[in-house]
């Protein structure tokens, strides 16, 4: 019965599917990006690769395979050497024992051959960390679904049935095991499936796992597919242990707020230990025998490590397995005990009562302030606090900020020359720059003459080799200037042409910042619009999460009837809700594009906002003459408008489909095509909201007319949604 209830729980089921799909999509997106970056690099050709010390995967594999036996030997003999050194001779020291143990452990690998093959599928999945965190989220959702029946009063019914308590506890352990098994199986099936499809290499599955450099320290004698199986099983066991642990902690206190807080504190502490401790620390045992590692096993299965326990070396992996077993046993025992002993409607414990009392007091103070909010403020409060919108916002802003690239740029060679010229001569074409260029060209010519003289003098033997080298060095130091002048001349040529053809007096300015903002050539050529699209997609997802409850919640909790009977509960409340949506969009826009501007400003500041936008050569065909600043403003306005129309679509979805179905509908209509488009399904661009949102892309790739049509189509779509929502809310339902 318990199984049925969980599976029938549509919310849980939908969330799981969503999690699985997101993970697979994120994985594929990451891999596609990696592959295309690799391709971009390899297009420079073999020579360039070699020059930069880069190797193709195959070559690297060959080299590694050849060196592997040597590597093993080195470990074994180095051990012997080290034991020869005096400090290690103390037989009861940790170092000595550790070396002995390492030697013994690696001995089993002697004679193992690393083969040349393609192991990228395994490597990429193993290093895809997101999967671990998604699994954890799944576990938490599963455990939460246990507590649903408390709210619905089912618990009392359950509790009253004979044998219901112990049975229930056991059934729940079973649900956790089964649920995790199914989820992990499907998840890794998806991941490995797409990995082998992307990278190939299924034929090398019989090679020893040490054939891949990532696993050279794995002391298990297994081949790739065996390793794969072990990997999945380990993750499954870890996920099971973790979900049991979460269940136990949540059972601990009656107040869910308290127990969730407790869980967060415990996990945060463990996370700090896991990431903060160095491998040399005395407490290193805490680093690997760590609950956080149950969420994210990481390299525990393939990296060889021992830690010091009373000067005995303990294998980290062993310790990890022990921890896992202990966690599983303890959690099961404690949870079962709590479940079978606790009564559904008991009073809270003393300590809990005290903490809860304190919280209540704080709560009361907040609530007193709250009742003075206007209706508008109340709507905002509902979004941010009642529906945990503030959490979404924090996570989202954290994601955005963590992606900001703030390294400072060092200008070398031509770049430095150009920087100087830009700082001096940016602005309208006033002839000063041309004069400067003419002067510099003269200097350059002078240098060239001198160099040629030196060359001929050297050939006739008038100057020594040393002097010749000097001259050549001096000359080559001017090559940066030459490059700079060339680039300036090109820009001047463009300015002249645009003046002739369209009568626009373009400015001389540095376009790098604008390029990052408005073209697919960001920091390097051919980077594409990935970053803009990612930001856009994130914005849309946050928008959905924040706004999906604005209309649907009043309906599900039965407030709608009351509101609609109040004089201002229809049109006025509707407009208030629309205003809230506007505010939300404005905020999302400000954060998203404010951070984008901030990042660009740090890397390559945009200047000359008053210059006509056609001063930028990639904007040559833009039909309207306007200042770059105005264009910037226009693009941001389009961002806002498109987001606002997206918000209307979210409203329409949640008004016509109730609860979680509405969210699902919004995701399917708004996020799904956008994600597909990002994954390279080009036909999706016609139905993806990302298209008008990343306005500059459609402008660059399809021209002005297309871009305007796209934006207008979005406006029409949004207006239709708006009218539908208005009709639904302000008029009575059928």
């Amino acid at each position: 019965m318990e199984y049925k209830r969980i599976i029938k729980n549509r919310k849980v089921f939908l969330l799981c599917v969503l999690l699985l799909v997101t993970t697979a999509a994120a994985y594929i997106y990451k891999q596609i990006n990696a592959v295309s970056a690799e391709q971009a690099v390899s297009e420079y050709g073999e020579d360039a690769l070699q020059e930069n010390g880069l190797m193709s995967y195959r070559e690297f594999q060959e080299q590694y395979a050849a060196s592997y036996p040597g590597y093993l030997e080195k470990i074994l003999t180095q051990n012997d050497d080290l034991t020869g050194i005096s400090i290690f001779q103390k037989k009861d020291s940790f170092s000595f024992r550790n070396l002995e143990k390492t030697k013994a452990d690696y001995k089993s690998l002697v004679g193992l051959k690393a083969e040349v093959g393609n192991f990228r599928a395994l490597e990429s999945v193993v290093s895809f960390e997101t999967a671990d965190y998604i699994t954890f989220i799944f576990g938490v959702i599963l455990v939460w679904s246990f507590f649903d029946d408390e709210k619905k009063g089912l618990w009392c019914v359950n509790y009253a049935t004979p044998g219901g308590r112990m049975k229930l506890a056991m059934a729940r352990c079973g649900v956790l095991l089964l649920g995790n098994s199914i989820f992990q199986t499907v998840l890794f099936f998806l991941l490995f499936g797409s990995a082998f499809l992307l990278y190939g290499g299924i034929e090398d599955i019989g090679c020893s796992v040490q054939s891949s450099p990532l696993f050279r320290d794995c002391i298990l004698q297994v081949n790739v597919w065996e390793y794969l199986l072990l990997f999945v099983m380990l993750h499954l066991a870890a996920a099971f242990a973790m979900s049991l642990f979460v269940w136990m902690v949540l059972l601990f206190c009656r107040s869910h707020m308290l127990s969730t807080g407790l869980l967060l504190i415990v996990l945060a502490g463990e996370c700090v230990f896991s990431n903060g401790l160095s491998d040399q620390s005395i407490l290193v045992g805490l680093k690997y025998g760590n609950l956080f590692r149950l969420i994210h096993p990481g390299d525990i299965l393939y990296n060889y490590r021992n830690f010091n326990l009373f000067s005995y070396p303990i294998n980290c992996f062993r310790a990890y397995l022990c921890l896992m077993l202990v966690t599983i046993m303890l959690s099961i025992v404690i949870s079962a005990w709590i479940t079978s002993v606790r009564r559904p409607i008991a009073t809270v414990g003393k300590i809990e009562l005290r903490i809860a009392g304190l919280l209540k007091k704080i709560n009361r103070v907040c609530h007193q302030g709250l009742s003075h909010l206007s209706v508008f403020g109340m709507e905002v409060y509902k979004i941010l606090v009642m529906h945990k919108g503030i959490l979404f916002l924090i996570v989202w802003i954290y994601l955005l900020v963590s992606q900001i690239d703030t390294r400072s740029i060092y200008y070398l060679g031509t770049g430095a020359v150009l920087k100087e010229i830009y700082s001096e001569y940016s602005g309208p074409d006033d002839g000063r720059l041309r004069a400067y260029i003419v002067r510099q060209e003269a200097v350059l010519q002078q240098e060239q003459l001198q160099y040629e003289k030196a060359v001929s003098a050297y050939e006739t033997g008038e100057i020594s080799r040393e002097e010749m080298e000097n001259a050549s060095m001096v000359y080559s130091s001017f090559s940066a200037l030459e490059g700079g002048i060339e680039s300036v001349n090109m820009q001047l040529g463009y300015m002249e042409r645009i003046k002739e053809e369209r009568g626009i007096s373009a400015w001389f300015l540095s376009d790098k910042g604008y390029r990052i903002l408005w073209t697919g050539d960001g920091l390097y050529q051919g980077q594409g619009y990935g970053k803009q699209e990612q930001r856009g997609l994130l914005a849309i997802i946050v928008l959905i999460l924040l706004l999906s409850t604005v209309f649907s919640y009043d309906r599900t909790c039965g407030m709608e009837k009351l509101m609609r009977a109040a004089p201002y509960g229809r049109e006025k409340l509707f407009y208030i809700k629309i205003r809230v949506a506007g505010l939300t969009c404005l905020f999302i826009c400000l954060v998203t594009y404010g951070l984008e501007l901030y990042e660009v400003q740090k890397l390559y500041p945009v200047s000359c906002l008053k210059a006509p936008v056609q001063s930028l050569d990639f904007m040559e065909h833009f039909p309207i003459v306007m200042a770059a600043g105005s264009f910037l403003l226009m693009v941001e306005m389009i961002h806002f408008l498109v987001l606002f129309m997206t918000a209307m679509a979210v409203f329409a979805c949640t008004v016509y489909f109730r609860g979680i179905k509405g969210v699902a509908a919004a995701l399917i209509i708004l996020v799904f095509p956008a994600a597909l488009q990002m994954l390279g399904f080009d036909w999706c661009q016609y139905i993806s909201v990302l298209q008008p949102l990343v306005y500059v892309r459609i402008l660059q790739e399809h021209g002005f007319v297309c871009s305007i049509i796209s934006v207008i189509a979005m406006m029409v779509f949004g207006m239709i949604c708006y009218l539908l929502v208005k009709k639904r809310w302000c008029q009575n339902e059928s």
Partner: protein, 288 residues
């Protein structure tokens, strides 16, 4: 003030929940009696325009309420049947929120809220979150909410569901007290809720208005239609099988089985006095 209902009907798909209702209301308290599924809530939802009607008109002083819109709703106080709440709000916040939706502000709003909270005996716990209130307390918050803004038309759907006897009486008194110059509708299937306060009672059955009359008139109409059979506990079961709608009464003198109907069996003592609305309810609504 006159509320006219002309040919009002409502269909859910093929199911006729309300059949062509024609009735007029002036100031006073109207009790709407009917068994489960009679269409009481449907009628109230039509009155508040929460539900789209299939046919008919509702006019306030000759003007259709749909075209009156906000103006009509400004005169409305509505207490829905199911308890719709924001669980995290306190009673105070909830009332404020609704008050603002009703266009009340500042001191006027605060004054009314305090007055109403005191009236429904909730002033002490006005800051506790709604989720910690008992069912009856929530019901009273809902009542207070409906009375905010001094509405002229008050629509209450089972206002006393889940209340203890004392609170029932309290609410009845409140309703009686505020009903001056107002049209008050109380839908219920508990006769005692409206017994002494209703100026008219509407009997609703399967979407049809069977009768609308003053309580006294209704009681008079069932004179001679009720009877009691003295019985023992053993006989009771047989009687209950025979007369499905009968009611058992325990008196000092022993057990009585009270039945209503046009043809009473000879063994029953026909009752002429002390008839109640309960008998009216049984006679009109429970008889098949």
């Amino acid at each position: 003030m006159k509320l006219e209902i002309k040919g009002l009907s409502k269909k859910y798909g093929d199911f006729q929940a309300l059949k062509a209702l024609n009735v007029e209301f002036t100031e006073g308290i109207y009790g709407i009696l009917g068994p489960n599924g009679a269409g009481k809530s449907t009628f109230m939802n039509l009155l508040t325009d929460n539900l789209k009607r299939t046919a008919g008109e509702i006019c306030l002083d000759g003007k259709e309420i749909l075209s009156l819109g906000k103006e009509y709703r400004a005169k409305l106080g509505y207490m829905p049947q199911q308890q719709g709440f924001y669980e995290q709000f306190s009673a105070m916040e909830f009332l404020r929120y609704i008050g603002k939706l009703k266009g009340l502000k500042g001191r006027k709003l605060n004054g009314q809220i305090e007055e109403l909270l005191t009236k429904v005996n909730l002033y002490e716990i006005r800051h506790s979150p709604m989720s910690s209130l008992s069912g009856g307390m929530r019901q009273r918050v809902l009542l207070a909410q409906a009375l905010l803004g001094k509405p002229e038309i008050v629509i209450m759907d089972e206002p006393t569901a889940g209340l203890d006897p004392k609170e029932r009486i309290n609410i009845r008194n409140i309703v009686a007290e505020i009903s001056k110059d107002k049209i008050v509708f109380i839908a219920t299937h508990v006769v005692s809720d409206i017994e002494c306060i209703a100026s008219k009672v509407l009997l609703l059955k399967k979407g049809e208005l069977i009768r609308m009359e003053s309580p006294a008139g209704l009681i008079a109409s069932v004179r001679g239609k009720a009877g009691e059979i003295p019985c023992t506990k053993e006989e009771l079961q047989k009687l209950q099988e025979k007369y499905v709608t009968g009611n058992t009464i325990q008196r000092q003198e022993g057990l009585f089985f009270r039945i209503v109907g046009d043809d009473l069996p000879p063994e029953a003592n026909v009752i002429w006095n002390n008839l109640t609305l309960e008998d009216v309810y049984m006679y009109y609504l429970e008889q098949s």
